[in-house]
Amino acid sequence: MTQEKNLLAKATEALANTEVPPGPPPELVSATLAKLAGAIDKPAEPTIQWSSSPRRIKIVPDWVKFAAAAVVLIAAGYLIGRLSAPKPMDAEELYAAVAPAIQRDLLEPMGRQWQLILAGNNAELKNQMQQDFRQQMNEFAVRILTASGAVTNQYLRELVQSINTSQMQYRRWLAAALQQMESDRIRDKAQLANGIETLAVATGDELQRTKDDIAQFLAYNQPAGLNPNVYESPNITSERSRQ
């Protein structure tokens, strides 16, 4: 690349530094001036004078011209008709002139007609309003009753639920009391049985001791000086001991 650049630079330098003989020679200058004199005296060659854009050539077809002429004629006719037409009346003036008579002619009959219509429809309107009022009141009562029934049912359900709860509680208490009474009864019965047995045992011991005492008493030898109980027979004593 450097070689190419150097080559171009050298070639350019060589061409630029080419030895040029001094000139132009006088004969060449004279010949040139003569030729220039002929060229200056020679009339100028006609040149095409372009109007605005030298490269644009306008070729307009005929039908375009006719169409343009038709458009121009139509536009001119429209303008002439528009300008020659009578001037339209002013709307405000017309309104000011007509409005009072119209108001006078229209408002009074309309007022009377409205009064008649309202008088004829007064009773009907009243009945209609009463029916509407009743209907609305009925609907209101139905709504109230429905709402109150729902609230009453709710209260009743709550009351029944509370009663059931109280009964259940009462039954539980009653069962507990019965169970307590049964357990007390069993315990008292057992204590009573134990007491009776204890009494029986004690009575048996006491009777045995009494028996022994009696037997010891019977076996006791009465001193001589002592008389036996005449009132007691041996049979009676045996009977008592048997008892």
Binding site: E4, K5, L7, L8, K10, A11, T12, A14, L15, A16, N17, T18, E19, V20, P21, G23, P24, L28, V29, A31, T32, L33, K35, L36, A37, A39, I40, A44, T47
Partner: protein, 196 residues
């Protein structure tokens, strides 16, 4: 019409036209034709419109005419075997006194200049004009754009493309010449050149 003394114009700006044309064409006959055509064309333009900058106009016209003649010459020069032909007309060479004491270097410069002339003929006209006006006449971008009726940015773009195209053309010519030289030489000759 603008009043112009053409004798003054020719004498005052003739050297610029002459140098511009001769630098591109490289011989007397073509330069003389280009000189006359440039001024005739300037007169035609002067008759059509007002000219504000005669040096720039004449430089552009001379460049354009010279490039046209270069193209014609390139078309005539296209021989069946092709190739580049350096201007070795003895009359033209003797007409220009050389200031370079090194003949090989002078020949190389002449060859490069001729190759660049040939490459310029292959550029689009506008690119070629912009390149020549910029690098051979030293005109600014704005002057070039004013003379060619284009924007300054367009002038820059044209110049860039012209340079890129010229680089490619010079490189291709250089490569073709190297290949041609290798084909024409024997391996022994190549070795001897490398040793030298």
């Amino acid at each position: 019409m603008q009043t112009v003394d053409w004798q003054v114009i020719v004498k005052q700006h003739g050297p610029i036209v002459w140098q511009t044309a001769y630098r591109l064409l490289g011989n007397y006959a073509d330069t003389a034709d280009c000189f006359q055509e440039t001024f005739v064309c300037a007169v035609q333009i002067w008759r059509r419109q007002r000219v504000r900058n005669f040096p720039a106009l004449l430089s552009r016209l001379a460049t354009a005419r010279a490039i046209d003649q270069l193209r014609q010459r390139a078309r005539l020069r296209r021989t069946p075997n092709g190739g580049l032909r350096v201007n070795t007309d003895p009359s033209d060479l003797s007409a220009v006194p050389s200031s370079n004491p090194d003949p090989p270097k002078e020949l190389q410069a002449a060859e490069l200049a001729e190759r660049l002339r040939s490459a310029i003929t292959q550029l689009p006209p506008q690119h070629a004009e912009v390149f020549c006006l910029r690098y051979l006449n030293g005109m600014s971008y704005r002057s070039i754009a004013n003379q060619l009726g284009i924007k300054t940015s367009a002038a820059g773009v044209s110049l860039h493309r012209a340079r890129a195209r010229l680089r490619m053309l010079l490189e291709s010519a250089f490569v073709a010449e190297v290949d041609f030289g290798r084909v024409g030489k024997t391996p022994g000759q190549e070795e001897s050149e490398v040793r030298l």
